[in-house]
Symmetry: C2
């Protein structure tokens, strides 16, 4: 059994005060509804756990009424940090869950191909993450906004989501991070900290995360004309 | 006197065969026409040199008829490599030119604020480049698509254009690169090779370069409703 944990408990600081980016309307639906739909429609996902902010239960139930998900879902409340939210999500998956796909709620365009291939690699290796090769020219600064050197990007990847794990792998990795009191920004870093290999799975289609209102037209164009259900 | 050199001689490999991304229509004009317009409208630019592919002179003259630029412009033919094209562009600027802003033809959304601030920093330091702080989570692979380590992005910047220089600085830097037979992918790297400091100027607004057809809706939304002139 494969579960998706959609992390939708962020505070959207970059979007400006009072704005929850997950609820910005894109093609007739809140952004996070598109994310939910992608995983609900996936041939490889059996259930969905949505990690949300306290007080937003009603808003997510309203989304469910609009998109009418075909797969079982559960709402759980997240923590102050992403890491805490993921932990709460893992505690809410079905006991039969073997593989868990952790997804940013604001990453609404993830393709079925990426879900399928990250899950396949996680089954083999224990952990896998969608990623894109770095194509920008990168410079390291001297700390005072002057170029120090050009960075060799040959082996550099930008990681995205889904980040997919065998359930016992991510539980062990996050447990270790908690015991050491570390703060991590992505779940593969927890694997790195216990020496668990993580496969990079190339995401060839754009798989952007909304971080500023200016990202929405691009996301809308990628989502195409799905519209409201 | 400040000159803009717009490099519009690329072969657009990532766009697929037979497609010149610079001529894809965005909001009623070819992409490169928007780039041209931004520099033609800038309060800090006095003339524009367009470095183009051989045989496309007529196409650029047609663009000029449509946008009716207010500033003098010149068309020069580029070389096989970007470096060669920039060199040809530098050889075509007005003899009174003191500052040159080198711009990707496919980067159509560069703001006046970025043009003004990169020129100001280049006057002070000799060289300056528009850049954005890296916000993606970066991983270095082991060369076989497994994560080796998380990359510290604290001092990492993705450089864009304009790349702005005192004319004698970039001439000296590129001359040195040519003599050494080096191949560079951006003009600030030529400065690095001769120890010339380059200022990183934060571009806060999106300043994307079109590299694939999927980028165009985002660019169109940034360009807003400028439309055809």
């Amino acid at each position: 059994m494969n579960s998706a944990v959609i992390v939708a408990a962020g505070s959207s600081r970059r979007m400006g005060p009072g704005t929850d980016k997950l609820f910005l309307e894109v093609n007739g639906l809140p952004l996070v509804a598109h994310t939910w739909r992608r995983f609900d429609a996936s041939s490889r996902i059996d259930e969905i756990v949505l990690v949300i902010r306290s007080g937003l239960e009603k808003a997510f139930l309203e989304i469910a009424e609009r998109i009418r998900p075909g797969k079982p879902y559960r709402l759980v409340v997240g923590g102050a940090e992403r890491q805490e939210s993921v932990w709460n999500g893992l505690n809410a998956v079905d006991p039969r869950c073997r593989i868990v796909a952790i997804q940013d709620g604001a990453r609404a365009c993830t393709s079925e191909a990426v879900i399928v291939s990250t899950i396949a690699r996680a089954v083999e290796m224990g952990a896998a993450v969608a990623a894109q090769r770095v194509t920008d020219t990168l410079k390291e600064s001297d700390g005072e906004n002057r170029i120090q050197r050009t960075v060799d990007r040959t082996h550099l990847w930008a990681v995205q989501t889904p980040q997919v794990f065998r359930i016992e792998v991510i539980r062990k990795a996050l447990q270790s991070v908690r015991e050491k009191g570390l703060s991590i920004t992505d779940d593969t870093a927890a694997c790195e900290s216990i020496g668990q290999p993580v496969a990079l799975v190339e995401s060839r289609d754009p798989n952007p995360k909304a971080t500023a209102p200016g990202d929405l037209p691009f996301i809308a164009s990628l989502l195409g004309s799905e519209g409201d259900a």
